[in-house]
Amino acid sequence: MTEEDTGSGRYVIEGRVYPPEDQDLTNWQVETRIHVNGGEYIGFVKEDGSFTIHNIPTGSYVVEVVNPDYMYEPVRVEINSKGKYRARRVNYIQTSQVIQVPYPLRMKALSKFRYFQIREQWRLTDFLFNPMVIMMILPLLLIMVLPKMMNDPETKEDLKQITNLAKMSEMPEMSEVITNLFSGGSTAKPSTSKSKQIKKRQ
């Protein structure tokens, strides 16, 4: 049937269209057409997806499946004067490059056409990873978690040690130094006595 010559040097192009399997399609056969050379010859799809395009003279043809929703890859079919068929990938740039594909043609849907932009939807992750939200939540975490850590006895010990260390170092505070400088020695004494008092308490 493939090499059928219908007289006067006319041939047929045969193949089968495979609809996308995941979708439950009704009546996709009516929506799908086969264009040879951009509609010079038109074929229609039968119930099972097979198609035949009759009365094609020898030559080189681009066979494409036209469906409004699904994209199919076009195939170039060459019929030589002896009636031999060769099907290959369409390459408009390197026209001499030949990557053969099986004949009779097997046209499989590549993907669904994405005609529309996807509207941005509100998603929780988008909200959470927003820098403003992170800036708000991190301090909140600190406020909530740190007191919890205080309850832990070991950390309490640790904290104490840290505070002790800070006090042991006896670093003169900047403000005190400045006030001392400006107010003279009179105020210096009470402040030192105060520090002594603290020492006594310990």
């Binding site: 264009h35 038109i42 009759h54 509207r119």
Partner: protein, 913 residues
Amino acid sequence: MCIYEDQIGKFDWRQTYVGRIKFAQFDTVSTAKKLIVATEENVLAALHLKTGQVVWRHVFESASTGNIQLLHVSDKIVTVSGSNPYLVRGWDSGTGVLLWEWSLTLQDNDNADFSEWWVQQGLLVHMLPAFNSHIEVTMYNLLTGHNRGATSKLPAPWINEGCVLTPPFYSCISGNVGAQRLLSVDVTSNAVQIISKPLFDYISLDIFEGNLRPLDANSAVPGFIIDDKKIVLIKNNDFELLSVNVADESASASIIDGSNGALLLQAWTDKILGFSLIAHNVNSGQEVSELKCSDRNLRIPEAEIAAVMCTRTAKEHHACRILVNGADDAIHLMQQGGRVLWTREEALANVVAAEFVDLPVSETEATIESEFDQKEGSIWAAFSRRLQTQFQQLQTLLHSFQHRDRMVENSNSNNLVRDYFNLHKILVLVTDVGKIIGMDNLSGEILWRRYEPSLDAESVGVFTRRTAWHPPYDAYLTIVGKHEETGNGLIISLNPINGELVGERFLQLDARLLQCAMLHRADEEKLHGLAVLYEDENIQVFPVSSERLVKDMYIYVADRETAKVQGYALKYDGKSAYAQKIWSVALGGAGAAGHRIVAAAARSRLERTHSPGRALADRSVLYKYTNPNLVLFLTEGPDPVHKEVVRAVAVDVASGAVAAATSHRRARALPLAVHADNCLAYLYRSDKHRRLEIATMELYEGKERWLPAGAAFSSFASERAPAVQRQAYILPAAATAAAPTVTERSLTDRHRQAYNLPAGTTAAAPTITERSLTDRHVLLALTTGAIVEIPWAFLDPRRPAMPTAEQREEGLLPYVPELPLPADAVLNYNRTVHRVSALYTHPAGIESTSLVLATGLGECARIVRECTRTPLASSSPVPCSPPASVSVCAQCASIHVPRRHRVHQPRTRHRPR
């Protein structure tokens, strides 16, 4: 341009058409009742019986390979299409899925056009008459195509061209004048039985004209009409003259199976009485009154019964559905009594010209306009006027509160007013059959229709001579075409808002037209005159009073077949206007015969140039060559060396100077050329690489301006060689890619580039926006049914192969030969439009918005919004007129400015013949 899925149908609509009905039959078998039609446009479709909507549709090839020869509807649909070889296809009537197909090639190719086909008892019958000799009859198995026995030849020396087929009978009037006989033969019967009767048994031979026509609409009983007077049926192998005469000479008659025997149905349209339908009982000759109808208001020119279906109801009443086809391509489905259930304007499948027309402003807006129009007067007068108008507004407001209910009712009919962004317009569509239709562009609803049978719309020109921007004057639109019979000029002027004739009304001219153009200056009534150029190179201006306004006007005439273009200057000498031939160019070249013009693209009248150049990376400006008189001609012709050559020549049609030219070897041109601003693009099919290519050109003056900024372009201002020498430019020298004389003399810089298109294309158009601030796009209608938008940045001829750092800074994309056609650039998403014949674009009142109309086997209108790109983001245009921020305000203000600024330059219109 991208839309969201929830915006489907918000900015667009699609109407599906099938074309003029050739065959129609009711599908009575399947549960959902349908009407199956096959059309002159090679479309097989099922129409919903209640609404007239297309249930499913198959579009065949537009060439003769898709011609539908036979439509047979039983439990399956059978079509025979093509013209030797033929294709026999079976379809499921419910779903429209192909069931079987087989091909059939006739050996006798010369007479194949006379073939007749019909289906009889599961066999496909093919009959081929050989006049004055014999009839060849072949029968095929409908499903497989197997031949049942050989071709049988019936000797029949009496057959002639006037014979008619009423399956299975083939009937003729033959014999010498005065002794004619009526002959008929059942071509499918095994035993050849010729029925032969003298003709004077049926009709008086004294007034006989020899006319025989079959009954219409798949008549239940084979029969024919002799001389538009008598109806003869063939029953039991004998003729039977009906007692009922043909009611009107133009009546279309059909026999249907009624409840009490067969019924004869006749339909015709009388000029005065309108549409009439009568029914008679065949056996008794009595009129069946319940089917009769006569409607004065229903105008169906040359009404013809396309299909009839009658069912019996319980009370022996007839419930009929009658499909009536008119000469204006409209089909009407009627029920008994003449009530029209639905009408389809199939003329719209063949739109030849379309025009967007602005609507008038609403009454309240008009008063505001008039308030600000009156500039003179003191401040007190203005103040009192203001108080007055505000009082009026208050009154209308109160009025609207009182009559709110009535307002809602009226709003449907009275809402033909301009909206805020001037998106709402009227589409005036001129169709091939001569029907002019006014359509609402937002809803696609037909507002008015007018059938002009004498209009030959083959090369029609539509001119909006006055827009609705000039109250109190109404809009004024003129259609210039040819007379169907004489070929002389025909002018139809109408008000595009309501479709009523105005001004010249319906005017038949006395001579053939060469060209017509609209004067660029309007008269006191804001009406632009129409200048027509007759074949004898005389000129006439409509109205005559506008003749004095003829000044600085140039028109050109392009002969499609010889590729010769001639330019005329229109002048006014104080008494009358006359045309003077000033230049002539042979685009094919002097030696090359057989060149023909495939396409001509001029700049749109509505387009304006926003920026005079584009900024380069080194802060210099590359100034554009924006010649409003430039027209791109695309020619095609044979070449001794390269088989076929496509040439693109850009001609200044005012002076005849050639601005640019290129040629492509071994290529065939497509009639698609686009011209906007300084950008030119055209398509051709490269035979060498077997692909479709789009070539683009941009014209630049160089880095220095020829004219001071703001000066209007003049085709005659720059120093150029005289017109006589110019013919030499396009000769073989121009055919080569680099023609040095052209380059240094007129243009300093030209860029060309070719891109591949991975798809077939049927129509092309540039987008037009109000102020051309938005990036330009090229719209292409593909053979797949998609309308794709390609940004000019992708088509930019300056795209370099290896961009330098400077070019990258300028924003030029590196050259990629294959153009991307992403799915989100498809304007009509999955609402495909097949066989698009043309794309029309029109600016809306809001910048970055363009209105698009695609016509083909389905009208599709679309508002294209370039919202995703801000118009000012494009770095290339050098703002010359208002700075960017101001122009945004100007867009809003432009709604209220009653007059649009038009570029005052000599303007030419073209119409290739």
